[in-house]
Subunit: 389 residues, 2 copies
């Protein structure tokens, strides 16, 4: 029995998101030599508009080449479909006689799939395949794309820490992450116990933040280490839950996607911190870098484990699609990574913050439990020599 699959990519890209497409296309071909696999351009927009690429026409070698290219090669979208849009998506799927729709994305994408699955579509199945550098999907131990992005962040903080050891001062690196601090926490993945390594302070959305506390923490850290490295999530929020960045961005530049998410990655937070630090520590070398888009699909550092897991998820999505709808979850069972299909509703619209025990009581660093989790995922620190200063 031949089968028809439609596959699409939603939301922000990762370094390995095309692996999942290739994994699905190759698995479909392996199971059903005459299977059709269509890639939709720009996510559900392409499904609704019939803007499809025939991935079945590509050779295995070309699919592998596609897999190894970072960022969404089919194009992406942040569209949040209303009822009429959903009908157009279903009509688009029916037009090509799709048996299954596989949509790669985060929790917004799982939400879209949940809505589609409730529409009467006969035996058609809807499988959500996870990806997000934020690592904030429930049911998942970690998500494809996170390891590579974390590797970038860990490498960057190792580098700037050595830089600020050579010429002491204050360094703040602001890292993507609206609700979950995993990616920011990975800044500490290469800090060695008992050494003076930075970042010395880590602020994540899971703990309350205050600029006054930051200045006091920096002051104390400089007294101990002579310098201070800070990793901060773009989503750090004050006690009332409002992200600091949101208060700093003037209303007229508020940019929200269809899902209501405000874009936080502008330079407003960084510049405000630069000004505050310059005022509190005059004449001290101080830099604030906003990492922005650099970590999320960086072509220079792509983890092999991340590649393989993303690929396997595509394969598993195709296998699962024959039996029903759901969300593929990357779990950690008995020290092993295991894939499992969970209900779409279990993942849709939910955000997984870091566990409480990953953040210190003072709210300005990560714990050993967090380090142990990261050590399992992030590629190890390269062999370095402890500087003479």
């Amino acid at each position: 029995m031949s089968r028809v699959y439609v596959i699409a990519q939603g939301g922000g890209p990762t370094a390995v998101i095309n692996q999942t497409v290739a994994g699905a296309a190759l698995a479909a071909r392996q199971k059903h030599p005459d299977a059709k696999v269509y890639g939709a351009r720009h996510g559900i927009r392409g499904v609704a508009g019939g803007d499809l690429v025939d991935l079945s026409a590509l050779s295995d070698a070309d699919l592998r080449r596609f897999a190894n290219t970072p960022n969404s090669g089919l194009g992406s979208t942040r569209d949040k479909p209303d009822a009429a849009y959903c009908e157009r998506i279903v009509a688009g799927l029916e037009k090509v006689k799709a048996d299954s729709f596989i949509y790669i994305g985060g929790n917004d994408t799982a939400g879209t799939m949940g809505i589609l699955d409730e529409i009467e579509t006969g035996p058609m199945t809807f499988v959500h395949a996870p990806k997000t550098i934020d690592n904030d999907l429930v049911e998942n131990d970690h998500t494809p794309g996170f390891i590579s992005a974390a590797w970038f962040v860990a490498s960057a903080f190792l580098s700037v820490d050595l830089d600020f050891r050579a010429m002491p001062g204050i360094y703040v690196g602001i890292v993507m992450g609206r609700h979950a601090g995993f990616l920011t926490a990975s800044a500490a993945a290469r800090r060695r116990a008992g050494e003076k390594d930075g970042p010395h302070l880590v602020y994540v959305p899971e703990a309350h933040f205050s600029p006054e506390k930051l200045i006091a923490d920096i002051r104390a850290t400089r007294e101990t280490y002579g310098r201070c490295g800070v990793a901060m999530s773009e989503g750090v929020a004050t006690e009332d839950g409002t992200p600091l960045a949101e208060r700093l961005i003037p209303e007229e530049r508020h940019e929200r996607d269809d899902h209501g998410n405000l874009q936080l990655s502008g330079g407003d937070l960084g510049l405000a911190l630069q000004v505050a630090i310059a005022a509190a520590f005059p004449k001290v070398r101080a830099r604030v870098d906003t990492f922005g888009y650099l970590p999320r699909g960086f072509s220079g550092l792509v983890s092999e484990v991340d590649r393989r897991e993303a690929f396997d998820i595509g394969r598993f999505a195709v296998e699962s699609a024959e039996s029903g709808s759901g969300s593929v979850a990357l779990q950690h069972v008995d020290g092993q990574t295991a894939l499992k299909l969970v209900p779409l509703a279990a993942v849709a619209g939910k955000t997984k913050p870091m566990p409480r025990e990953f953040v210190t009581a003072a709210g300005n660093d990560v714990t050993d439990a967090c380090r142990a989790y990261l050590d399992r995922l992030v590629p190890p620190r390269p062999e370095t020599w402890t500087p003479f200063v």
Copy 2:
């Protein structure tokens, strides 16, 4: 005859600056088994203050480990010595009976060495070893540290270009470079001829810049490609020669080093551009990332060629130091890299901008001649699949 060398690192670090220290220490040991090689902590400050590390005590294996650690492992300084400071440096060198002082740095460092060389110090020699990610030293084809930093920049722009192909918009990446645009130009090193690859616009300090022209250029590029990628040097300057960033940073936050260089890498330029682009292109996805310190000593991407050249320069500095003072220059002769000792005065205080023929007449892109130069240096583009969008 035993010899005593003092070696130090000045200015901003690079990913390979410790290679030069290790190359010198290993060469000294090879030539004179009982040679003493002292590393000065924090550049001339350590020389003047007698704050030295005995590098001769390290094993070859440890020196190799030190070499492979990015950023100045001896510590650095931006001190510009006056006459009294120079006397203290000389006294510090005489105290350890130094035959030669090797100082690794950019043109400010060469300038310091020129001043020291004019002081009556008997047979003591002063050798400047080049390094700078800015690639702006005269007499040099390129400088140690540049290739690795350029690799980062090229990789980052490849990634964000694929990102903005998946979800079109406007992306601006601001790259270090006060007077010379080499590092910014390397953003274009992975752009393929005849493809839609970005960055589509490249602005360097060598051409006049105007914000109005930028907006017009972005508008035209979007009409052609549906998106626009921009690489911009932090040092872009208007017709009167004033860097745009300098005008944007309020006086009270002006931070200058002893050499009079104003720190440009804050977020002011980035945020000003973000505001200008949002006003000109409302509702369009637009991001401005300031790369800041990320490219310059990134531990994740270190070029093997860069490592080797930096190491060889350390070795060559030690060999040259026996015959006289000078600046080691990395030249390109008959398709080969060649090292040569040139007079300190030839390098001191001079900046090499990109050749005129590296920038297009419109001043908003690099030329094929520039691409040919970069292709010779920057590691090749990884094999990627052209996105379906």
